[in-house]
């Protein structure tokens, strides 16, 4: 119930391509869906996030598409660059213990953008 399933596990695209990473969830109590980008040896960085009352959000070259009825959301990277090569994690947030929120993370997607 509290799992977030992420696919694919790894992805290789050419420079300029549009990699798409997909996530699915079951628990309708999730109320916030962030994406994180992590470079080797670094902490994850918040990339973009969406709430379930919005179907799409764009920030620069990054777009989240959200399908509430299907309980799915995805990350699209427009005009991908070699510098986008990193591991991407989706997550879902749920209120927890009354005073905080808990993030449930997907298992990550290793993206390689070839020049």
């Amino acid at each position: 119930q509290q799992q977030v399933k992420q696919s694919p596990q790894s992805l290789i695209v050419q420079k300029g391509g549009i990699p798409i990473i997909n996530c699915a969830y079951e628990n309708t109590a999730f109320d916030y869906f962030p994406w994180y980008q992590q470079f080797p040896g670094k902490g994850p960085a918040l990339l973009i996030a969406i709430r379930p009352d919005v179907s799409e959000k764009k920030e620069g070259r990054f777009t989240i598409s959200f399908n509430k009825s299907a309980k799915q959301f995805s990350l699209h990277i427009m005009d991908s660059q070699p510098g986008d090569s990193a591991t991407y994690f989706c997550a879902a947030s749920i209120r927890y213990g009354g005073a905080t929120n808990k993030l449930i993370f997907g298992t990550g997607t290793l993206l390689a953008v070839q020049p």
């Binding site: 109320d31 916030y32 962030p34 994180y36 040896g41 670094k42 902490g43 994850p44 960085a45 918040l46 996030a49 994690f89 947030s93 927890y96 213990g97 005073a99 905080t100 929120n101 808990k102 993030l103 993370f105 997907g106 298992t107 990550g108």
Partner: protein, 110 residues
């Protein structure tokens, strides 16, 4: 602006030795604080979270403990490290929904 610090950046410790990792946040007050562990090539596992000084909740029973002696300080400890404690330890802070991660500590238990 807010900044989160973790130290040390890397640590190599023998099995059975104690552990103390520190996390501090600047530029905010009364944040929610979290400790995560990330095994090599895997996702993030929530270990502890804290909503205030002295308030610690544990997610995973193990030989680790956490403390929050000050509003913006979060400490992860162990009395005796196990080989399985090796990993990348991440501290995060949250104002409301979003969580912001620190640079992490790479722990290798030998």
């Amino acid at each position: 602006s807010q900044t989160i610090h973790q130290w040390p950046a890397t640590l190599v410790q023998p099995v059975g030795s104690p552990l103390s990792l520190e996390c501090t946040v600047e530029g905010t007050s009364n944040p929610n604080l979290y400790w995560y562990r990330q095994a090599a090539g895997r996702g993030l596992q929530l270990l502890f979270y804290s909503v205030g000084i002295g308030q610690i909740s544990s997610e995973v029973p193990q030989n680790l403990s956490a403390s929050r002696p000050q509003d913006r300080q979060f400490i992860l400890s162990s009395k005796k490290l196990l080989l399985s404690d090796s990993g990348f330890y991440l501290c995060a802070w949250s104002p409301v929904y979003e969580q912001y991660f620190g640079p992490g500590t790479r722990l290798t238990v030998t």
